[in-house]
Assembly symmetry: C2
């Protein structure tokens, strides 16, 4: 490793203080006629949650509200106290035999539990990385028939509604109180719209079948919206657009800088985020034939900077050491706080962030890929300017952020460009020729991130780049004659010419689409930073790359990446290619899960406690590992 | 009782469903060196609250937050479990000896408690009817010094603040989160402004000494504002104005009718209420040298209709049977919801109502007059178009509303007028002449409510009105010669001429200021309705008027009423005049108490449970008692 300078690392990423590992208990569920399963859940979780989280179907028509009395289970080992509701569902003999309602039975120690056969099958939806989510949205509609008030029954409108929904402890604000009386007097049958514990509306008549939510993936580059039918769990419509904040900068740091230089920029960035979210809301509602007023909740997964900007929070402290967020999570947000004109009192859930550089998008992605539910050794890698890496190993969940720099975004690469028509996304090199895959099947214009990785991997395989990352000379012995002509100089720098753009002579350097020595170094530093991240995480757990059962490549870039090329350049551990999975837009999947299930939302919140953040920048062994990882495997 | 028709009663007033009497426990406090006192409080109350409510001073510098550990008491009879905080304040021997922190010691059974001598004397203010209120406002300011964040301490701004205020469970909304970071970065010393559990602001520097609130008495006729210094409990400035809703009607029923006839009226009435409250807020702040932003909470006492109108709630259901309110109380109101521009996130407390016609003004009045703290037999009478009556007797608290009609407002009286310059407020009749007290020392123009009562009382005493309420003829034997000329006819109706207005000939009926037979009947019906109310309340408790220890006359009308005249016409029980007390503006005093003390606010809420509403309109004995009470005592 001779002449390689160890680069100045960008400012270190935020360490999250080391939290105590949460207490977990072991529950063995023995479903009637099915195989028993042992799960580990935080102490205090209900048996209902523990089963639902782990995809074990539980009878229930009230969604765990304690009203349907169907979620019967029998505790056969370990003890669960009798709750207030149990005596209404079971006789004394049954209680003594261990029968409990699962939704009010809290597991404080290890248990063995019999689950009777299902009478009704709960609704579920498949989202994320093969995750089965049992429907229990924060949004619920409850249709009730109210008796007319009389002189003998002068309960207020609010009391009348509360009495009709005795299982809910509703928060009822002034605006909905204003509408309440009108609905009551229009129709004795009304439908209460409740999100969490907030009464959002009371609609005349029975509207219980119509309830929708919108899940947003608020990316730095792209914003995606999915309209979900919360009664069935099915997606109704999807739309996306480029983040209109782009003119303020391609990445989070340049957008933060913009707010530091111009006092009006924050307001404008916030307005742009709002307009993007609102435009997408309009599109998916129009597309799905849904009235905007039927959308009662939105969920947003985004990195800390995107969320700060969308909420009008000054992002400056995120951009300068010591990288402090205003808040980790936000209670009591309305869709209006994010500029989304759906139901005027619709609520909003914004994914909590682990840190300024391990944001809500990563928490959502970890949720969607079930990083907390799987005891196998798994790596989750979200590649971007800042690369977030999660390692799940048994009970441990670790996170780190690696400063990969802008190589993958195309900005730092001479001929780099965004993944758009004309961008090279795949490169194959034979002895004779170079074959390019171009987005949109047009003439090549530039090189996308995935094309960059592919190109360097192919060049290393062809011997055009040596293990230290140096472009070989055109007259080097290993260079096939058909390729030698592509090894040229631009100025004094060696380059490899992939193609000549349309309208240029083959010999005109102005028309070359090439990779330069410096481009290869940029990629080399980026992949080394990422590989150092997962290497140190694995080493910390006494693991090697061979132990890794699965690598999830997340984010829009990760999804396009060729697993073979990623292994080839050492960006991910050298495991069987089948174990490398493009997880797709996991942040968006996480946002959908949060809309579909309060339990998943609780699991996301629990991740804040469970994930241990590993700070790389102050590690003595970082530079050694970084240098080790610079090489391109032979 | 010959020819008197029993009037058609106005629509009946709302019965509140009979609540179970709350459990109460007995606590005997034995203060060091002072006389011991037994009090009765709701089960579960803390010893701190029980003592504070009853004016027994308790050492405390944190106001019962569990942080100062000064409110030490020793339970010598009965048991109070050891709380989580007690072991931090006491050793094991002390705990065994019964020492507890009063603010976390809940009385679930009867107790005897020793109170050690005071080290610091808590701040207190005298308000209401001689009520001593120990300062514990919902508004609190907490000055904290924050450490600078570092790479090793990247807690979010919100976490940093929460950790600095470990005794509070703050609700932190998005707008204050936006301001948080700015304050933190301006000054490491910041002052958190907290109202209840809501973080209202974080101000740079130490501003802990400046905190204010405004108490509003939102009357149908008059609106009064008092600016209170919440650090000291002292009133800083007072202002009042006529309710600008008057053009929509003098009383609540006409204003409700206005909203039923014109769909825009509610919006206009709400805007008028807001402008009145906001104008007064501006006046008291200017007068007191207080920045509007230093006002962090307002409290409003008003009847149900005034509160509905001010909050933009449709009042129509209050005006038609079965008289249903939209809500009894309101959580989470901001001053902005009432149109009051003080601190933009200032909170608002609106007194809860017992019923559509026993509103928050009466609850505030009952609080201010300590109706729940006194075991004597006491009557509270708030005279108006609707007359609210409370009876406290031992542990019982009863309420009723008597439909008095408009006699006292002047509207139904031929020469009636509002209590304004030119209004006769007192009348004395000798054998020879009639002596008038006129507001503003000008020539008489009309008759105010208090003057009406005075006049009829004096006429009854002089034999000009017989016990049945009939005006005697001018030639009746009992009429003194000096007064006979005043007994005249207007049309076919007998009248008694009190004066001739300026600019008229004595013989010109157009200039007469008189009381007609019909006026006397109006008053007679009104006072009979009121007297029937308290008679039935007393009878229901097996009491007679002789048992009444105190009569409190509340409201602006009641405050001007001559106790002697009120007894004379039978409006109040015939008790020693010293026992009849003008309680003044008790609703406004109650609003002040709510600002000064969360405990008083809790007591107001408890009144909703404790007061038993007695419906008069469906009582079989109502008409009998009403006829009994029509006579003017001889």
């Amino acid at each position: 490793m001779p002449d390689l300078p160890v680069p100045d690392l960008p400012a270190p990423d935020p360490p999250v203080p080391d939290p105590p590992a949460p207490d977990r208990v072991r529950i063995r569920f023995e479903p009637d006629g099915a195989q028993s399963r042992e799960v580990r859940v935080p102490a205090g979780a209900t048996l209902f949650d523990a089963a639902s989280w782990n995809g074990i179907a539980v009878d229930s028509t009230c969604g765990g509200h304690g009203t349907c009395r169907k979620c019967r289970m029998r505790v056969v080992e370990g003890a669960v106290p009798v709750s207030r509701l149990d005596p209404r569902a079971f006789g004394p003999d049954e209680l003594r035999a261990g029968w409990r309602l699962a939704c009010v039975a809290h597991a404080e120690g290890d248990l063995r539990v019999e689950v009777p056969p299902l009478v009704t099958r709960p609704k579920a939806a498949t989202v994320g990385v093969g995750r089965q989510v049992i429907l229990r949205p924060a949004v619920q509609k409850r249709c009730v028939t109210l008796t007319e008030p009389t002189l003998a029954d002068q309960r207020t409108d609010v009391e009348r509604l509360r009495d009709a929904l005795p299982d809910l402890e509703l928060r009822i604000g002034l605006p909905v109180t204003r509408d309440l009386s009108r609905a009551f007097r229009a129709d004795p049958v009304v439908t209460a719209v409740v999100v969490d514990d907030v009464l959002v509306d009371v609609e005349p008549g029975d509207t219980a079948a119509r309830l929708f939510g919108i899940a947003f993936d608020l990316g730095t580059t792209t914003v995606v919206a999915t309209l979900l039918d919360l009664a069935t769990g099915t997606p109704v419509a999807v739309a996306s657009l480029l983040n209109p904040q782009q003119p303020f900068g391609a990445d989070v740091i340049t957008r933060i800088s913009a707010t530091m230089m111009d006092p009006d920029a924050l307001g404008r960035l916030t307005a742009l985020a709002h307009s993007a979210l609102d435009q997408l809301a309009g599109e998916v509602c129009a597309d799905g034939g849904v009235d905007r007023r039927e959308v009662y909740e939105i969920a947003v997964a985004g990195n800390a900077t995107m969320c700060h900007l969308a909420l009008g929070l000054d992002p400056e402290p995120l951009g300068v050491a010591p990288f402090v967020m205003a808040a980790r999570s936000f209670d009591d947000l309305g869709a209006a706080d994010l500029g989304v004109a759906v139901h005027p009192r619709a609520r909003a859930y914004v994914f909590p962030a682990l840190g300024a550089y391990v944001g809500g998008d990563i928490v959502a992605g970890a949720l969607a890929s079930g990083m907390d539910r799987d005891r196998r050794v798994r790596l989750f890698v979200d590649i971007g300017t800042n690369c977030e890496i999660l390692l799940a190993a048994g009970d441990r969940l670790l996170a780190t952020a690696a400063p990969a720099g802008p190589a993958f975004e195309g900005a730092a690469i001479r001929c780099g460009m965004r993944a758009a028509p004309g961008a090279v996304e795949g490169v194959k090199i034979s002895d004779e020729d170079v074959l390019l895959e171009v987005i949109g099947d047009v003439a090549p214009v530039g090189l996308a991130g995935s094309g960059l990785v592919d190109a360097v991997a192919a060049m290393a395989a062809a011997g055009l780049v040596d293990p230290s990352g140096r472009l070989v000379a055109a007259d080097a012995p290993a260079v096939p004659p058909g390729l030698a002509a592509r090894l040229r100089l631009v100025g004094k720098e060696r380059v490899f010419v992939l193609a000549t753009r349309e309208g240029y002579a083959t010999d005109d350097p102005a028309g070359w689409l090439y990779l330069s020595q410096r481009d290869i170094r940029e990629l080399q530093f980026a992949k080394a930073a990422i590989a150092t991240g997962w290497t140190l995480l694995l080493e910390g757990q006494g693991l090697t790359p061979d132990d890794v059962a699965q690598v999830l490549l997340a984010g829009s870039f990760g999804s396009f990446l060729s697993p073979a090329a990623a292994v080839r350049i050492g960006l991910v551990p050298d495991v069987a290619l089948l174990r490398i999975v493009s997880a797709g837009n996991v942040a968006g999947e996480g946002a959908k899960m949060a809309l579909l299930s309060l339990r998943e939302r609780a699991a996301a919140q629990a991740l804040l406690e469970e994930v241990h953040y590993v700070e790389l920048s102050d590690r003595a062994d970082f530079n050694d590992r970084f240098v080790d990882r610079l090489a391109f495997p032979g």
